[in-house]
């Protein structure tokens, strides 16, 4: 189902310097560092120390989100053998909004804004991970079923919860609705420090679990029959990987809100840019590209447009258009 034929590991040796994955990644890393430096040290309104503290938090949040989204999307593409899906299609955002709506509905908008974010974050992460793990064991545990079927079941359940959420939202007063719809858009500025730390730990654990599997992921790219033939325990590996993906997406969604198409842009750009199909290269490239998008985007919006738009909605919008371009050009493969 992949569009291009993945070149075998024994491809012809790189001819130019630029065609080497290592060189490309170093260049990208340099760009990221430059952007981060620009973001941290330029245009300081008052005390540098205070600005650094606030901006450092923002940059860390961006790094955590870029890592979670980049790694989980690339892994997800490999598991599903399809490059136009995103893990968030599973209805994580439906859960996020459902839980937020329940809080606003039963305890009012003020308590939603004053509620200890730690509790909300914890509840959301636990519910999202529990949902995806349950779904997965239920569908994968007994009979052999396709991954696509599992996704579709996840989506149908997502619709189910979404219609429930909408119904509750219809019964809210406009002010409470406004609070909720603001919560429905991802926000990367001013994250809560404790939550950021917790999310960072979860994402780091996910990465630590995914990195040793990068060679296995390369084999999974060849498709299930080939992978099984080469000695990969397909079901077990896919289950582990899927668990990693759901923890990462759940943590980052609970931190900043739903991000649907951001991963799609980053992952597909990474395949084009990395110069290699090996996950050892594509995974970090996706993360770095995510950083370029987030830090660069935030710079442009803060310094050029002076906050006339929120970064996440712009990224979603651009990501949506990019998706359309992708499928109309290449077909749904």
């Amino acid at each position: 189902m992949l569009t291009e034929q993945a070149p075998l590991a024994v491809a012809t040796p790189p001819r130019t310097l630029w065609s080497r994955p290592g060189v490309r990644m170093a260049a990208l890393a340099a760009v990221v560092l430059a952007l981060v430096a620009l973001f941290l040290f330029t245009d300081v309104p008052g005390s540098l120390l205070f600005a650094l503290k606030v901006r450092g938090l923002s940059v860390t949040a961006m790094l955590v989100v870029a890592t979670a989204v980049g790694v989980s999307t690339v892994v997800f593409h490999t598991i599903t053998q399809n490059r136009i899906l995103t893990p968030s299609i599973m209805g994580f955002d439906a859960f996020y909004m459902l839980i937020s709506t329940i809080v606003v509905f039963f305890f009012g908008a003020t308590s939603f804004l004053t509620l200890d974010p730690l509790i909300l974050w914890g509840v959301q992460v636990v519910v999202m991970v529990a949902f995806s793990v349950l779904l997965f064991t239920w569908l994968f545990g007994g009979k052999r079923r396709s991954i696509h079927l599992m996704l579709l079941v996840g989506i149908v359940l997502g619709t189910f919860f979404r219609s429930f959420t909408e119904w509750m939202q219809r019964m809210l007063d406009p002010v409470a609705f406004q609070v909720l719809s603001d919560a429905g858009f991802a926000s990367l500025t001013r994250p809560d420090e404790t939550l950021l730390l917790l999310t960072a730990i979860l994402v780091a654990l996910g990465c630590a679990a995914a990195i040793p599997l990068s060679a296995t992921l390369d084999v999974l790219t060849l498709g299930e029959p080939a992978a099984v033939g080469l000695g990969v325990d397909h079901r077990r590996t896919v289950m582990i990987l899927f668990g990693i993906v759901s923890v990462m997406i759940a943590a980052s969604t609970a931190l900043v809100g739903p991000v649907l198409f951001f991963g799609l842009i980053v992952a597909n750009l990474a395949y084009a840019y990395a110069g290699s199909f090996r996950h050892a290269w594509t995974l970090p490239t996706a993360v770095l590209l995510g950083m370029v998008c987030l830090v660069g985007g935030q710079l442009v919006i803060e310094r050029l447009f002076a906050f006339s738009a929120t970064l996440s909605t712009v990224i979603e919008f651009a990501g949506g258009l990019f998706f359309l371009y992708l499928v109309l050009r290449k077909g749904a493969r």
Partner: protein
């Protein structure tokens, strides 16, 4: 023609059971429609009609609100189910309908465009724009799906839902920027609470589409067998697909401007009918229409009585029941989706 298109999956003994099921749908339709006329907050009962009721407004309410609402329910149920059936034939996939292919989302985007550019536009114009967008959505989806092998049953709705998500994100982005989110939400969530005389007549256009679908039924049966096959039988494939696209788009738009989005209906009903009598479109269209109407009327009665005197939006009930049925279709033995 029909001989070729009859399904092979129907056992011969199914005949008596079929007559039985048909009678059941007919009786249910009649009973539920009558019940729908007399259920609501105001007292409209046969007795009140004769005596004039407590305030003498029973007959007035019946004509202005209850009869239009019941008619609208029947029309929406029948036409959405037919649109789903036609879509399944065009895409050659059991799991598509306007809601799982991005068509409804495109139509909603059209609604937003009319809200922003021509806020005072008449409903007919709004419906026209929404239908235009729905047509674009159908075209985009068919274009994308060309690349998916027919065997990949479940991938097709996945891609469609993804497409719908993208379009919905674009719509939400603009609606949020322009502070139209809540009013758009009112449009997009299916409910028949506001349906009364003078506010549902566009549904007859959708009804007309259903009739056209019935007239062209055999062509859609053949289309369902694939492009080469249809062309071999001397069918102008592209023209039939175009007719199907118009039927789907206009139906979706008419239902959207009248009652909002109603999920899963066009997917679940044709599948159940197909399990009973097979895939001959000419034979199954009346069944699909009847069962779709029964389904919607039943759900709407539930929506009216569950939290009496308040109403639950119909799409919530349909979403819950439809999601459960859809899951059953996906996971039952022999659905070939595995």
């Amino acid at each position: 023609m029909t001989a070729i298109a009859t399904s092979t999956g129907v056992p011969v003994q199914a005949r008596p059971r079929r007559a039985w099921a048909g009678a059941l749908i007919g009786v249910a339709l009649l009973v539920l429609s009558v019940a729908s006329l007399f259920i609501g907050v105001s007292d409209v009962s046969p007795l009140a009609l004769v005596t004039g009721g407590p305030d003498g407004r029973a007959a007035f309410l019946l004509i202005v609100s209850r009869i239009p609402r019941t008619l609208a329910l029947l029309l929406v149920g029948a036409t959405l189910a037919i649109a789903g059936l036609i879509m399944q034939m065009l895409v050659r996939n059991r799991f598509v309908e306007p809601g799982t292919t991005g068509v409804s989302e495109f139509a909603t985007l059209g609604m937003l465009v009319t809200m922003v550019l021509w806020p005072g536009m008449a409903l007919l114009g709004k419906m026209g724009v929404a239908a235009g967008f729905a047509l674009l959505g159908t075209w985009v989806f068919l274009r994308i799906i060309r690349a998916v092998p027919v065997r990949q049953l479940v991938l097709v709705p996945l891609v469609g839902i993804m497409l719908g998500g993208v379009v919905a994100a674009v719509t939400t982005f603009f609606a949020y920027r322009l502070d139209l989110l809540q009013s758009l939400g009112q449009w997009a969530q299916g409910s028949f609470a506001g349906v009364m005389q003078g506010r549902y007549e566009f549904l007859w256009v959708a009804g007309l589409m259903g009739v056209i679908a019935w007239i062209a039924a055999d062509r859609f049966s053949v289309i369902g067998l694939g492009e080469e096959f249809a062309t071999n039988l001397g069918l102008d494939y592209r023209r039939v697909v175009a007719i199907g696209m118009v039927i789907i788009a206009v139906t979706t738009a008419a239902v959207l401007v009248t009652a909002g989005m109603i999920p899963f209906l066009g997917l679940v009903v044709p599948n159940i009918v197909s399990l009973i009598i097979g895939d001959n479109v000419r034979r199954s269209i009346p069944w699909v229409a009847g069962l779709g109407a029964v389904f919607v009327v039943a759900c709407d009665i539930l929506a009216r009585v569950l939290r009496f005197p308040y109403e639950i939006p119909l799409s919530v009930i349909v979403g819950i029941v439809g999601a459960a049925l859809f899951l059953w279709l996906l996971l039952r033995k022999g659905s070939r989706a595995h």
